[in-house]
Symmetry: C2
Subunit: 137 residues, 2 copies
Amino acid sequence: MAKDIIHDAVKNALLKDNWTVTHAPYIIRVKGVQMYADLGAEKVIAAEKDGQKIVVEIKSFMGDSAISEFHTAVGQYLNYQQALEEQDPIRQLYLAISDDVYDSFFTIPFVQEAVVRHKIKLIICNIQQEVIIKWKI
Amino acid sequence: MAKDIIHDAVKNALLKDNWTVTHAPYIIRVKGVQMYADLGAEKVIAAEKDGQKIVVEIKSFMGDSAISEFHTAVGQYLNYQQALEEQDPIRQLYLAISDDVYDSFFTIPFVQEAVVRHKIKLIICNIQQEVIIKWKI
């Protein structure tokens, strides 16, 4: 599964769920930090529905090392959370992953504990059907 | 400055400061997670001095994107912290960086706030002289 496939699948799943995708990518600007050089930023989108505003960090976990990708995902999530609190505090931040990755990696107790500890909200998508399976807060 | 230069410089700076380097790399094992596939793990060392035990995550911030490397550094630090609390809670975790990177990047208010928020302890080294400039807790 290519990285772009999950990106498009999550976007389409949100559209199917009646969200309006307002920014793709959604660039988070922080004073003094060149966020345009943020290599993960291209996989971040913003969406709105019924006055709710969300930012979605999309991660495939399809690289050679799921744990390395998890380090980056956690750090990126927490840094974006910090930036959003300053700039756009009503926007809720989510990490979007596939149901396959959720079942195989996010069920590991260490990973589950990290998700709870850092209050990481998840959107779990089925990539083939391009549908949201679960919002996990 | 190559990534390996900072690794060796930090190790030599610790030796000069009378630390014994006990593990290089120091592999953190977590049940269910293949940490040997942790791409950042090669830059983690463990050291001891007078009964004190530390783990040092070394980051060069010399890639194309300091902010992307910072995401990874924060996530790796927090995941290692979580793993150490379970396995080896007396070991203190540090992030080692060069004084140049400290002065240019870690003085940015957003970055400073993240370091405080996540209680990231720093070892700041001069790479050319291979000496520890400051322990910042």
